[in-house]
Subunit: 249 residues, 2 copies
């Protein structure tokens, strides 16, 4: 094989059959998508090449390119699919305290991702390290925001939502980041069937009631705002100056 | 370029000049090492190839192979160098409470890694995702144990070491894992000169005194043991059964 495949990173062809619009087109797309994820699970992301996917699926490289103009397009399709499935499942968020709703949202996420452990594990280098297709890349914000909104809603719609709306919003975002840490742990989890992740979630469940109590102490709100500001600067690359202006507005 | 370079993943040649033993050999090795890290920083790990390193450094591929039989050997050399530098710096661990000694150990780690932010960032996929050269791989245990020992010692030699030695040991290991989480944050930190990492460490410093108080409550010891057991199962792949036997011994 020659140089790494860079085709289509600028967007791919605009002409040709509408991708996935017809029933047959949808079926082809799903088959190519499943084949691609199978390759990534088995070989890793770097060693997966579009031409091998086309060959395995019995289609021309040209046809594959119409559906997935690059490997990145496959990863973005996966973000799209998983975040949509998650948003749908999270509609069942129960009424209650924010800590109960957070646990529901966290377990729902592990439930949606569960069947895809192999491929997601193979994608750790992309998820964590990818400048342009990682979890914190601007290009994947559409998917991140969908998931983050669930955690923000878990706080905003809770029976014990913090009275300060800015603090409530910040707490939701922090819980989203905490959830990502649990997902990373789950991806790295070497225990049989990731049993140690259940243990971690149970431990978290035990720590949340005292944490919720501590959050009612004076000063806790500003600590939440501080932690949220740090997350946004570090992980999402928001400028500290813009945040300061936001607070004074 | 052709297929990915796999040379030497089985160990490399045993014959030839003793690597790095002579002064000239040491100089050559350092030059190749620096060239390799420069390539990894600029291009990423996957796109770095041994033949390019040899060409840039003006040596034959054969000579390069004697020093670094594979890309993995370069990464392992880096683990070795950084963990040694860290162990040396951590000899200055001050007397005091474990939370002060932990903060010293954490800041010392960020200090040693600091000048290498670029290359370590490029290596995130390997550090986090590498089955055979990642932070939790058996092959890199020599380096991990060197660093972990500092955090264990930070607790074991503290003025307020927990009276139960098993709990003290577990707490040291947990602090090592917490330190890894901070290092990952620092690697991902998008704020100018990773200023948000300073903010995170300051926030941690503020949380440690109440955490140290809570750890004196009844039941806190078993929570530390539980968390440590989960980390060992999930991250280091230790079987839960062996842990249970350890406790009953």
């Amino acid at each position: 094989m020659a140089t790494r495949n860079k085709a289509g990173t600028t967007g791919g062809p605009k002409r040709g059959r509408p991708r996935g619009r017809t029933e047959q087109g949808h079926e082809t797309r799903q088959r190519l998508y499943a084949t691609a994820l199978g390759f990534i699970s088995a070989r890793g992301y770097e060693a997966t090449h579009l031409r091998d996917i086309a060959k395995e699926a019995g289609v021309s490289v040209g046809l594959l390119y119409r559906y997935f103009p690059s490997k990145r397009a496959i990863v973005l399709a996966m973000y799209d699919e998983l975040s949509s499935a998650y948003a749908a499942r999270a509609e069942a968020l129960p009424a209650g305290a924010w800590r109960e709703r957070f646990l529901f949202a966290l377990r729902a996420s592990l439930g949606v991702l569960g069947p895809h452990h192999e491929v997601l594990k193979a994608l750790i280098p992309v998820l964590v390290g990818g400048e342009e297709d990682g979890l914190f890349a601007p290009q994947t914000a559409f998917s991140r925001q969908r998931v983050q909104a669930v955690f923000e809603d878990a706080v905003a719609g809770a029976t014990d939502v913090p009275s300060n709306a800015t603090v409530a919003h910040a707490l939701g975002r922090l819980l989203y980041v905490a959830h990502l840490a649990v997902v990373l742990w789950w991806l790295l989890d070497k225990s049989p069937r990731q049993r140690a992740t259940e243990g971690l979630v149970s431990m978290l469940a035990g720590l949340l009631p005292p944490a919720a109590l501590l959050l009612r102490l004076p000063g806790a709100g500003s600590m939440v705002l501080g932690a949220d500001a740090l997350c946004r600067q570090a992980l999402f690359g928001e400028p500290a100056r813009a945040q300061a202006e936001e607070v004074t507005r």
